[in-house]
């Protein structure tokens, strides 16, 4: 490796250049130090809380199951002669949230999958003032039923920064608040 210092001896740096280097290194450090921690960021206001509405639920089939007639069964291969057929497609899940008597959220979650036979999923955020709220949640997972299948109403007291999760758990009776 050739000694490049012999080819072009480095111009000796004056005191000003050294001070400049120190200043530039210092500015660089300051910029990184400052912007890696400052300005502070607040995701919610100091008097706000967050409601997360989230569930993943497979809706009811869009139609009734039908019993096949003997003639229809006879047309099928012997190994496929199931007595009833049900539609694969699932109902979209509709959910509404009222806060203190006012509807603040309404979502219709379509079933996933190419055959629309998957779960319907919702994830929504509601930033609300901290304090006491009357929350009403209505959920319907069957297009054939006129009324909402599930309903939950309760009064909650939210402290600033609290996250209230509205979920659906059939094992716990439906709509849950936690």
């Amino acid at each position: 490796m050739p000694d490049t210092a012999k080819i072009r001896p480095a111009r000796p740096l004056g005191a000003g250049a050294w001070i400049g280097q120190v200043l530039l290194y210092g500015l660089f450090a300051l910029a990184i130090g400052v912007f890696s921690q400052w300005p502070p960021y607040r995701h919610l206001g100091e008097d706000q809380a967050l409601i997360k509405l989230s569930f993943s639920r497979v809706g009811k089939p869009v139609g009734d199951c039908r019993t096949l007639s003997a003639a229809e069964l006879a047309k099928l291969p012997p190994n496929m002669r199931a007595p009833t057929v049900c539609p694969r497609e699932r109902s979209p899940v509709t959910v509404e949230v009222d806060l203190n008597g006012t509807t603040v959220l309404k979502r219709i979650a379509p079933p996933t999958g190419l055959s629309k036979d998957g779960a319907s999923a919702v994830y929504e955020r509601l930033v609300v003032p901290a304090g006491e709220h009357l929350i009403t949640v209505r959920l319907s997972d069957d297009v054939r039923a006129r009324d909402q299948a599930y309903r939950h109403e309760s009064t909650v007291k939210l402290v600033p920064g609290q996250v209230l999760v509205i979920d659906f758990d059939a094992g716990k009776g439906g709509i849950t608040l936690q």
Binding site: I7, P40, T112, Y123
Partner: protein, 520 residues
């Protein structure tokens, strides 16, 4: 009429060069950090890898243990933990800054097009790898900042229509977060940087002598700066993650995490359009209308002896050696890949058959540039010296991309602007002196500022006799002035010319040299 983008780029380049000039004053051109941005990015990556390996030894990859293990690390004696942690975080910030400035500098110089298209296109995906790897680093600490970043990232991803179930549901409740999730975190924070390393290899594989480390003095300066910063301004954790609460005030790293606040201030869709659109634009830039490419080097098999000097000196690995068509055993021939050739002419300057002392009327060299052949350069030099009104003319060999030499003052000056100073075979200096020149000035770009990366370095080494082909030792060095002057450094060029003029005026014509070769 000039396109607005071209004008914008030119103005930007002017500003950039002004700033670069300021840094030259403080650091000198060889150590100017703005000329080593890619290498600084590499340094930051090595630092991240080294500190990350040590951090990982202490790290407990579990929900309950992650935060605690990093807190314990911070309490290592002698500030070692603080140093490690600070270096790791601040190196990530440096990597992002160096990458952004590197991208800007290359674009301002028009380096997204032509033979550099490959480097540009392989560089764009690295931006994504860097950010994904860096953001994942906040998650594994699993403090309030990590919680916020993880949820914000997944809520952003959930905006994509392809998601069947919201990913952010994984962070709804404490029970949902398990130790297995840390396998994903570790993949994001270690696996993606490994992909980044692989991508970096692609990015530089068509570059000869790629700089993967800045000059030692600069590297030490940066390391010392980061170490002082890490100790003086330590990186600390927030409170442990608590999914039942939204973190209050966060000390956000705006360099690495700016996308999160931007997403909440606008919308996930807006940020997707911004990121996707920006990425598409970067990918599209090399394909926009651009100036015609420079002619590439041409090999003449009859004059190529397979010495490999062009192969060794090409900055872009555009030359390979193949069996010579004359079928003599062991004889090779240079072959130019037109897609990789920059058209800089450094290969012509490296070719031993490029010497102007050859007696052939039509000088054909082993490898040459069609737009300015060695033969044409010799002819122009002869004509200029013959036509010079001065009895003791000065010859200047400059560079199209460096300080402008074409309008240098003085009737005694014969300037020649080359494709790159590296195109100059050193024997031309001796030839010019033998042909009547009183002195020769060679103007290369400032160190590290060569448009073709290595031209100024090879020129300096060849003239110093440290690289082949070298300038013969018998050539009087007082008749040669080597100046490093980049674009805009015309004053430096003039000063160098004046130094040469003052030096050669008192000198008698060299008695050892024969009379003018062609027009005595």
């Amino acid at each position: 009429m000039q396109r607005p983008t071209a004008s914008f780029r030119q103005h930007g380049l002017k500003v950039w060069r002004t700033i670069e000039g300021g840094f030259d004053t403080a650091f000198g051109s060889a150590l100017n950090p703005l000329r080593h941005l890619g290498a600084i990015g590499f340094l930051a990556f090595w630092l991240l890898a080294a500190s990350g390996v040590v951090l990982f030894i202490f790290f407990d990859t579990s929900v309950a243990g992650a935060w605690r293990s990093i807190e314990e690390l911070s309490r290592l004696p002698l500030g070692l933990g603080r140093l490690l942690r600070g270096l790791h975080r601040y190196a990530a910030d440096v990597l992002v800054l160096a990458m952004g400035l590197h991208l800007l500098r290359e674009w301002l110089h028009g380096h997204e097009r032509g033979f550099r298209r490959f480097h540009w296109l392989t560089g764009v995906p690295l931006i994504g790898f860097v950010f994904v790897g860096a953001i994942g680093g906040f998650w594994i600490n699993w403090d309030e900042l990590g919680q916020f970043s993880a949820i914000a990232s997944l809520e952003w991803f959930d905006a994509l229509p392809m998601m069947a179930a919201p990913l952010a549901r994984n962070f709804l409740a404490v029970e949902a977060v398990s130790d297995r999730l840390f396998s994903l975190f570790v993949f994001v924070h270690i696996g993606v940087p490994l992909l980044l390393l692989f991508g970096l290899w692609f990015h530089i594989q068509r570059v000869t002598r790629a700089a993967v480390m800045p000059p030692r003095a600069l590297a030490l300066g940066l390391l010392a700066t980061l170490a002082v910063l890490a100790l003086a301004w330590p990186v600390t954790s927030h409170a442990p993650a608590a999914l039942a609460r939204v973190p209050g005030e966060l000390r956000l790293d705006w360099i690495l995490l700016f996308l999160h606040p931007l997403t909440y201030a606008t919308s996930p869709a807006f940020v997707w359009v911004l990121v996707g659109g920006g990425t598409l634009l970067l990918f599209a830039l090399p394909f926009l209308p651009q100036p015609a490419r420079a002619a590439v080097a041409v090999v003449d098999a009859a004059n190529c002896n397979g010495c490999r000097r062009c192969f060794a000196d090409c900055p872009y690995a555009a030359i390979t050696m193949v069996p010579h068509p004359n079928q003599r055993i062991g004889r090779t021939l240079a072959q130019v890949d037109p897609d990789l050739c920059a058209g800089c002419g450094i290969c012509a300057g490296a070719c031993p058959s490029s010497t102007p002392f050859r007696s052939a009327a039509q000088l054909v060299t082993g490898i040459d540039m069609p737009q300015l052949t060695v033969s044409a350069l010799r002819r122009q030099l002869q004509q200029a010296l013959a036509a010079s009104p001065s009895a003791r003319p000065l010859v200047v060999f400059g560079c199209d991309h460096g300080a402008r030499c074409s309008n240098l003052g003085g009737a005694d000056v014969s300037p020649f602007s080359l494709l790159c100073t590296g195109q100059l075979p050193p024997s031309f200096v001796e030839y010019a002196l033998r042909d009547g020149a009183a002195g020769v000035l060679v103007a290369a770009c400032s160190e590290g500022g060569c448009e073709f990366r290595l031209g100024e370095r090879w020129t300096a080494e060849r003239l110093a006799g440290q690289r082949e082909p070298h300038l013969r030792a018998s050539v009087a060095r007082e008749r040669l002035e080597l100046v490093f002057a980049g674009p805009g450094d015309e004053a430096q060029l003039l000063a160098g010319l004046e130094r040469l003029r003052r030096r050669v005026i008192p000198l008698e014509p060299d008695a050892d040299l024969p009379a003018r070769l062609h027009h005595a």
